[in-house]
């Protein structure tokens, strides 16, 4: 194994491979930085070029390098202008953008990049550590287990609702309903599509996130007539963000585990990891009242998990040729074209290529973090610009990002509707995160409940893994309620003393 590991490392360190990896990291970072332009589209554009390449190591360096870092640079727009650069960075907005408004953009960005780096390295480590158990690990989750996981995710709505639990639950239900729009594959019935084929594929999550988070912040900024950051400072927070990551190492480790776990479960999707991790942080950390108002732990949790997910994604891809997500599906197409055969061969005759993937994940994450750190300072200046210089390009940015979702004029109409909804929710104190979480998980929850019931009847409730997961779910809800009560008692106690 050591020999194969060294062979894989030597392969990706050869000058040509390194050059391709740098190119991949550059493209991946740029795609992550630009909202709406997804990794899958860019990978699809690159496929014809990649298929002419003969050396599998170069293909791994380029594509895995590009795929591994998309969620690192996406934090720029999430934190600075409240626009998610990729679907994996939505939860970063919740604390990242308030930090930018509080004059802590540099701290949020550096914490985000270092968390991304450490999360990415952890993902690679998980991939390495799981090599012996790669296949049984993937096979241990069926539809009933997936259903309980989505249920667990939905239960986080309560955690994400802050001081408005009823409004949060209603927003979550609305999100689930939005997730049901489209052609139902199970029955062939159109739901809420009003005889318009645009709705058949459902509402694109990118549009919901851009509308709910992006435009309301722009309106707020224009209304305040100031800059994004209330204080014009940069320096001190930069190092602080790095220190934060190490100070909260236990949280970072836990959320990286969540990210890698979500990654290796094909079927949960790329936009789930950051939400699961963020909700876990809010649920389990002490002094949770700062969450949502600019707590660096929110940024660390979200960004650590979304990069760790990439390593996890490659577990089913390499073990069976079952891609973890759309991006890995395209990477897999290129792999097959250049003679890489996902499956048992990846653990025997092609073990060096498996290690090349692992090393690429490691090196690409380091390169992307260095790149983002270099550009952090000049890009952060956007926070200090007056609103009239920032608002028009951000609005253009959001609309271009929305149009890039499907290149359909209805995308812009949908964006405007969700922008209005987001604006009113923000104005009247309705938590917006539960709505997005509802959209992310609603259709998956319905799908896996349907599959569980049609396949197993009620017998699925007696599966050992399901029982274990339900116990964990109940324990996590109970823990959340108990710590919430304790927190309230502490606050009341300190108020009484005062």
């Amino acid at each position: 194994m050591i020999e194969a590991a060294m062979e894989g490392l030597a392969g990706v360190l050869q000058p040509e491979a390194l050059m391709f990896m740098c190119l991949g990291v550059l493209i991946g970072s740029l795609v992550g930085f630009l909202p709406g332009i997804g990794g899958p589209s860019t990978l699809a554009i690159m496929l014809p070029f990649v298929m002419t390449m003969k050396d599998p190591l170069l293909v791994i360096a380029l594509l895995v390098g590009m795929d591994a870092v998309g969620n690192t640079a996406s934090a720029f727009t999430s934190i600075l202008i409240s626009v998610p650069g990729s679907s994996g960075s939505q939860a970063t907005i919740l604390d990242g953008h308030p930090m930018a408004k509080n004059g802590e953009a540099a701290r949020a960005l550096s914490a985000s990049f270092v968390a991304s780096l450490l999360g990415g390295l952890f993902g690679a480590l998980v991939l390495f550590a799981s090599l012996p158990a790669l296949r049984p690990l993937v096979l241990s989750f069926s539809s009933p287990e997936f259903f309980i996981l989505t249920l667990w995710g939905i239960s986080m709505v309560g955690v994400l609702s802050g001081n408005a639990p009823i409004k949060g639950i209603l927003a979550g239900i609305l999100g689930v309903l939005i997730g049901t729009v489209g052609l139902d594959a199970k029955s062939g019935i159109e739901r809420f599509s009003f005889n318009v084929s645009y709705f058949w594929e459902g509402i694109d999550l990118v549009l919901v996130a851009l509308g709910i988070f992006g435009i309301p912040e722009v309106i707020d900024l224009a209304g305040r007539k100031g800059a994004i950051a209330k204080a014009e400072e940069f320096g001190r927070g930069y190092i602080q963000g790095i220190v934060d990551c190490f100070r909260h190492w236990w949280l970072l480790l836990r959320t990286s585990i969540i990210g890698a776990w979500v990654g290796f479960l094909p079927g949960l999707g790329s936009s789930v990891a950051d939400w699961f991790a963020y909700a876990h942080a809010v649920q389990t950390e002490k002094n949770r009242e700062r969450f949502g108002k600019g707590d660096v732990r929110g940024v660390i949790a979200s960004e650590g998990s979304n990069n760790a997910k990439e390593g996890g994604d490659y577990i089913p891809t390499l073990a069976f040729g079952i891609p973890g997500g759309t991006s890995t599906a395209l990477v897999l197409t290129a792999f097959v074209a250049v003679g890489i055969k996902p499956g048992p061969d990846m653990l025997t005759s092609q073990l060096n290529l498996t290690f090349a993937v692992i090393w690429t994940l490691v090196i690409a994450n380091i390169l992307a973090t260095a790149l983002c750190m270099i550009f952090a300072r000049p890009i952060t200046r956007v926070c200090f610009l007056p609103f009239y210089a920032v608002v028009p390009p951000i609005v253009a940015f959001i609309f271009i990002g929305a149009f890039a979702a499907n290149f359909h004029s209805y995308d812009l109409t949908a964006l405007m509707i969700f922008s209005l909804l987001g604006f009113f929710m923000r104005r009247y104190g309705w938590p917006r995160a539960p709505l997005v979480l509802g959209v992310v998980l609603g259709d998956k929850m319905e799908l896996y409940l349907w599959l569980s019931y049609t396949r197993y009847g009620l017998e699925w409730l007696a599966r050992p893994m399901v029982i274990a997961l339900i116990a964990l779910l109940l324990a996590s809800i109970a823990y959340s309620i108990l710590t919430g009560r304790k927190h309230r008692r502490d606050v009341e106690g300190s108020l009484a003393k005062a």
Partner: protein, 353 residues
């Protein structure tokens, strides 16, 4: 003097005429596609069969089109190809500069009908098609004992929407060969189905992916029961066709007509089209280029990697006929399909009469 004047006046005329004639001759020599860009719409998202077939054709088509135009690929996902087909039929200019990679889903949705369908596949100008080898029906090794034993727990067939072409084989197998089956559907795609058959959540599934089938056989997970093709596949010579399995039990008349209508012709898979009204000479250029591209040894090699050895190009004329035949299903056959779907608990959907 007059003659000289006339001559001197005529010289510029002649020059202009000569120039015009030369330039028109030159223009006639200049291929239509030279310096132009073709927009190549793929009626699906990135990844998947339609996208792979489209990108394979898109890579090689410009090489064989006189003038070697540039080509830009654009994915247009949604509604199983409906969004792209509606757009293509109603918005695209028939100037030979926009073409579309479509698939059997576009035809199936048209047959299924409904108010969202605003196109007619029969009106499109066919350029050519690509047909992957027919599906291979797999059964898990641990489910084989229950396959024909109706007193045992039924073998679970998994699918995305319960209306795929190969599902017809399982329904007719249950009806005429006594296969002990039940169906569950709703899986998002082949990724989830592959995982489900490996886990044992489903026992039966069909795929065209020869590499995957060989992997599942080698790992001792599943065996191939039958192929939906009319002839045995060269890469799976031991696997019988469905007609062979039916043998003397093969139904006749309307029952077989309904089966053929549901299962579809093996050639109806992926195809390239130009919009209605595209000038004939441009359609001919595109067809010629497609046919030449399909003979390129590199296309053959690349196609084998993605589709397996048995994939084949289909001519535009053949494809046109296949699509017409598929759409012209008699009402009685449609009704019988609906009845069979209802009988076996499969989704019926909306049918166009």
């Amino acid at each position: 003097m007059r003659k000289k004047l006339l001559t001197s006046n005529l010289i510029p005329y002649f020059t202009v005429c000569l120039l015009a004639l030369t330039s028109s001759l030159f223009a006639a020599d200049q291929p239509f596609y030279e310096g132009k860009t073709i927009r190549f719409i793929i009626a699906s998202g990135p990844g998947g069969g339609t996208d792979t077939a489209g990108r394979l054709v898109a890579r090689f088509l410009p090489k064989y089109l006189p003038g070697n135009p540039k080509l830009i690929v654009q994915n247009m996902p949604g509604g199983g190809g409906t969004i792209a087909n509606n757009y293509f039929a109603n918005e695209v200019k028939p100037d030979g500069l926009t073409i579309m990679q479509d698939s059997s889903s576009g035809v199936a949705n048209f047959v299924r009908g409904g108010p969202t369908i605003k196109y007619d596949p029969r009106k499109l100008k066919l350029i050519g098609g690509v047909a992957r080898p027919g599906s291979l029906l797999l059964i898990r090794n641990d489910a084989q004992a229950r396959f024909t034993n109706r007193s045992a727990k039924p073998v679970v067939v998994g699918d995305t929407d319960g209306i795929r072409n190969w599902i017809a084989m399982t329904v007719w197998g249950a009806e005429y060969l006594g296969w002990n089956l039940r169906w569950i559907y709703g899986y998002p795609g082949s990724r989830e189905l592959q995982l489900a058959i490996r886990q044992g959540e489903i026992d039966m599934w069909a795929t065209q992916n020869a590499k995957l089938v060989n992997d599942l056989k080698r790992e001792g997970v599943a065996q191939v029961v039958v192929t939906e093709e009319d002839h045995r596949r060269e890469d799976f010579p031991d696997v019988p066709t469905f007609i062979e399995l039916l043998g003397a039990k093969k139904p006749t008349g309307l029952a077989w007509q309904a089966y053929v209508a549901w299962a579809g012709a093996p050639e109806l898979d992926k195809f390239l089209v130009a919009p209605e009204g595209t000038p004939d000479h441009l359609v001919k250029s595109l067809r010629d280029a497609f046919n030449k591209a399909m003979k390129d040894p590199e296309v053959d090699k690349e196609g084998d990697k993605f589709f397996g050895d048995g994939w084949k190009p289909i001519s535009a004329e053949k494809m046109e006929a296949v699509i017409r035949d598929h759409i012209a299903i008699p009402k009685e056959a449609k009704d019988l399909i609906t009845k069979m779907r209802q009988k076996y608990g499969l989704p019926v959907g909306e049918t166009k009469s």
